[in-house]
């Protein structure tokens, strides 16, 4: 690859790539993100490559394996351009038909089309699918257009033009001013204004300065950073380059979880390609600006997503947070000014520079601008990645884009912001999703996880789940987080086992407040949110567990019993065979579950086709 030396070279390269791509009559875009890989997209890809080779179509049809498209529920996904035909749940055995009908003869295969559950109609075009139609996909759309391992793809969609633009003008204050005007706020959780962070890091004394991209995403059920880094690593690199120029940093790190092998691989390839093109390295484009990026793989500690713990881990120390009375922008990595931003924040930077601050500031609410990616998961029709304007109501995200509850259920709450966020009751679903509104409701935007829960979920059990996660992931350094959280778990376990008292509930509340106010780092400070918010919105569930000794959602094992209704029972023996502990017996034609030895695994309940097994 020849080095790029100026803007002209970049434009020439971009035009060359566009021309090269235009010789193909059709492009098959296949999602090769981690989600689709798990549902078997790689087999489809190899099959497709083989089939095209056999039919000698390789010079007419281009296959592009891209990053995550977002509609993970329906994977493996395949989009055929220029007609925008959308196939879902594609299997290797479908490939020959796709090639012979759709690619050669423009015939649409009905069986692979998406069916809208609301109208039961088949939808051919991807853009017409409600899940996509109602989103504002700026970052995620780029994922579909580029092969993450091919820098030329990124360059042909205007990639690196923002960096070249700011490098030519070389006015760092202007960049910071532009980012400030755009109103971009950190996408990692706290929502700190990015421009102000950059400014304080630029003004801080010390050299060299560092830039870190935080890709240590550890929230259960959240994977937007992974998808961006996997699918569009060059946007992150370009954002970091722009940031480095604005701040005056010389070195950059991408701290990524080792559990994201594809993200590590793609980021590595992307850095290599950027270096080859002369976009990273010493004296870039012959200017005085030098910048390099290294990848550091995290060992999987949740707490290492916290900035000071991350920096300690990067230094080779134990990943433990320290007091943040002095900001990391002044004294961070190796006691030097360090600017840390989340993957999504960095990836947003190039489009702000290209389209102007006003373009970005137009979207969103008064204090929260732009778009944000959310990972929609849980008991909902359409799980996947959703990119919407800040300030979109929860109702729109959950019902319009997410397709609402699973069959016959009713949505009860949504947990936003992962273990540090809170549960928001269905009554508040008109709430706009922005930093302030969610914080006021006792939750947070966080990195953008959204776990939807329906009525079959016990909120006390949810709080217990998150507490268990946090007790495991607390670093154990400070008393409030280590002891406080374990005490909270102790109390909540008592409550779910029917041993709780109202005094304990008050103590739980008091401990939660102490932990949230007095802890050392953000992990401890936000850790009680799931408990505090569930007490706030679902106090009656806690009270039912304590006073009536019952679990309204019939989840907490100590408070439920399984019984067979012999009037409904058809004596099919299915439960008898399924029970792993052999506790179901038959006496005089009556089927009885021995409640003393029953482990309440629920297998009999799931097996019974006649709803003869009742939960009390």
């Amino acid at each position: 690859m020849a080095k790029i030396k100026n803007n002209k070279d970049l434009i020439a390269l971009s035009e060359k790539n566009i021309k090269e791509n235009s010789k193909y009559s059709k492009t098959v875009t296949i999602c090769a993100g981690t989600g689709c890989c798990a549902s078997g997209c790689l087999e489809v890809l190899t099959e497709l490559e083989k089939e095209l080779k056999n039919k000698k179509l390789t010079n007419k049809i281009k296959i592009r394996a891209t990053g995550c498209h977002g509609f993970c529920e329906q994977g493996p996904l395949l989009v055929i351009e220029p007609n925008n035909i959308f196939y879902r749940h594609v299997k290797p055995k479908d490939v020959p038909e796709i090639v012979s009908s759709t690619l050669e003869n423009n015939k649409i295969i009905e069986a692979l089309l998406y069916i809208d559950p609301a109208t039961s109609k088949k939808i051919t075009k991807e853009t017409n699918i409600p899940f996509y139609k109602k989103q504002e996909r700026i970052l995620l759309n780029q994922n579909k257009l580029i092969d993450p391992c091919n820098v030329n793809d990124y360059i042909s969609i205007n990639g690196y033009s923002a960096f070249v633009k700011v490098l030519n003008t070389n006015n760092p204050e202007n960049i910071i001013e532009e980012i400030k005007k755009s109103g971009l706020r950190g996408r990692g959780g706290g929502g700190f204004p990015t421009g102000r962070k950059w400014e304080s890091c630029r003004k801080a004394e010390g050299s060299p300065k560092y830039i870190i991209c935080n890709a240590d995403e550890g929230d259960p059920g959240a994977y937007m950073d992974r998808s961006v880094l996997e699918g569009n690593p060059h946007a992150v690199i370009e954002g970091m380059l722009i940031g480095a120029l604005a701040i005056g940093a010389e070195h950059g790190y991408i701290y990524v979880r080792n559990e994201y092998p594809l993200a590590v691989k793609n980021a590595k390839i992307a850095i290599g390609q950027a270096e080859e093109l002369g976009l990273l390295g010493k004296k870039i484009f012959g200017t005085n600006f030098s910048f390099d990026i290294k990848i550091s793989r995290g060992g999987g500690a949740f707490v290492c997503g916290e900035s000071t713990a991350l920096m300690a881990s990067l230094e080779g120390q134990v990943g433990e947070p320290r007091a943040k009375d002095i900001h990391t922008t002044e004294r961070g990595f190796h006691e030097l000014p360090t600017n840390l931003n989340n993957v999504e924040t960095w990836a947003n930077v190039p489009s702000i520079i290209n389209n102007g601050a006003a373009w970005f500031a137009k979207k969103g609410t008064k204090d929260s601008k732009g778009t944000k990616i959310f990972a929609l998961t849980g008991q909902i029709q359409n799980t996947g990645l959703v990119e919407v304007h800040m300030g979109t109501s929860l109702k729109k995200i959950i019902y319009d884009i997410g397709g609402g509850p699973l069959k016959g259920k009713k949505i009860k709450a949504v947990q936003t912001g992962g273990p540090s966020g809170g549960c928001i009751s269905e009554k508040l679903f008109d709430l706009p999703v922005d930093f302030e509104a969610l914080a006021e409701a006792g939750s947070m935007v966080g990195s953008g996880g959204m776990v939807v829960m329906d009525e079959s979920t016990c909120m006390v059990d949810v709080a217990k789940y998150f507490l268990t996660f946090l007790v495991d992931e607390s670093c154990g350094k400070c008393v409030t987080c280590r002891i406080g959280l374990s005490r909270m778990l102790e109390i909540i376990t008592d409550i779910t086992e029917g041993k709780g008292t109202m005094e304990q509930l008050e103590l739980l509340f008091e401990t939660a407040e102490t932990v949230s106010l007095a802890s050392l780092c953000a992990l401890g400070k936000t850790a009680p949110n799931p408990v505090l918010s569930t007490i706030k919105y679902f106090r009656e569930e806690y009270e039912a567990h304590i006073n009536k000794k019952e679990c309204p959602a019939k989840v907490c094992k100590s408070l439920i019993t399984y019984k067979i209704d012999n009037k409904v029972c058809t004596e099919c023996n299915a439960c008898l065979k399924a029970c792993p502990h052999g506790v179901i017996t038959v006496t005089n034609g009556n089927y009885i579950i021995n409640s003393d030895t029953c482990t309440k695994c629920g297998i009999c309940f799931d097996t019974c086709k006649f709803s003869a097994i009742k939960v009390n």
Binding site: S474, C475, G476, K477, C478, V479, T480, R487, L517, A518
Partner: protein, 228 residues
């Protein structure tokens, strides 16, 4: 010559040595902010959270540990607000439930106003204040002790659980440990842990002595008598 910065703690204007922590500056002036993991001349880690104070800035207050907070010109600190007292009491309650067998912790709990312990006692031997680890590392430059594990599994251990050759046998780790001060009525038996409250009478006498306490309203945050 050290430079000084002016800070305000609970309304008293004091001069703190530049670069010193708020806690050190307060103790220098006889303003009692209780602390467990704090030690003179070693790096503060902010682990015990007993020394929390309110830092008031632009009309907003932020709660932070005073041992890790560097004194800066014009800082306004509330070391004894109702909010801080309540939090401190709760933290002391957690600590004493964790290790009731320590006189130092019983003492702190008593002074922070803990009268009943609502958490079940755990009777642990260590509250991970990290004094031993830091004294070994920083004063003796030995690094024979360290923290191992994460979260509830975190504990202090020797490298591979064997006393290393570079251990200087100074026994400082034992001297500084808050668990090694002999408890007044002797070690508590398992299942019989309680708030002993016996040091209350001695504490009263100690505070009458002007040398150890300025005995002013500032002592409130850590004084049994001013509570009433």
């Amino acid at each position: 010559m050290s430079d000084y910065v002016n800070i305000t703690i609970d309304g008293s204007k004091i001069k703190a040595i530049e670069g010193s922590s708020v806690l050190d500056a307060a103790l220098e002036y006889g303003i009692c902010i209780p602390a467990l993991c704090h030690m003179k001349d070693v790096t503060p880690i902010g682990a015990c959270r007993i020394c929390i104070v309110e830092l008031v800035k632009n009309g907003k207050s932020k709660i932070t540990a005073s041992c890790t907070l560097e004194a800066k010109e014009g800082m306004v600190i509330l070391a004894n607000s109702a909010k801080i007292k309540k939090l401190r009491k709760n933290i002391a309650e957690m600590l004493v439930a964790e290790a009731p067998n320590s006189k130092a912790i019983q003492d702190i709990a008593l002074r922070c106003g803990v009268t009943t312990v609502r958490y079940p006692f755990r009777n642990k031997d260590c509250v991970l204040c990290g004094k031993c680890v830091r004294v070994c590392d920083e004063i003796w430059q030995s690094k024979s002790l360290g923290f191992v594990g994460r979260g509830s599994e975190r504990h202090v251990a020797l490298p591979f659980n064997v006393r290393p050759d570079f251990c200087k046998h100074c026994n400082n780790c034992i001297d500084v440990c808050p668990m090694t001060i002999t408890p007044c009525p002797g070690p508590m038996k398992k299942g019989e842990e309680a708030l002993c409250g016996l040091c209350e009478s001695q504490l009263y006498m100690a505070e009458e002595v002007p040398d150890s306490c300025v005995d002013c309203h500032l002592g409130e945050s850590f004084c049994i008598r001013a509570k009433n």
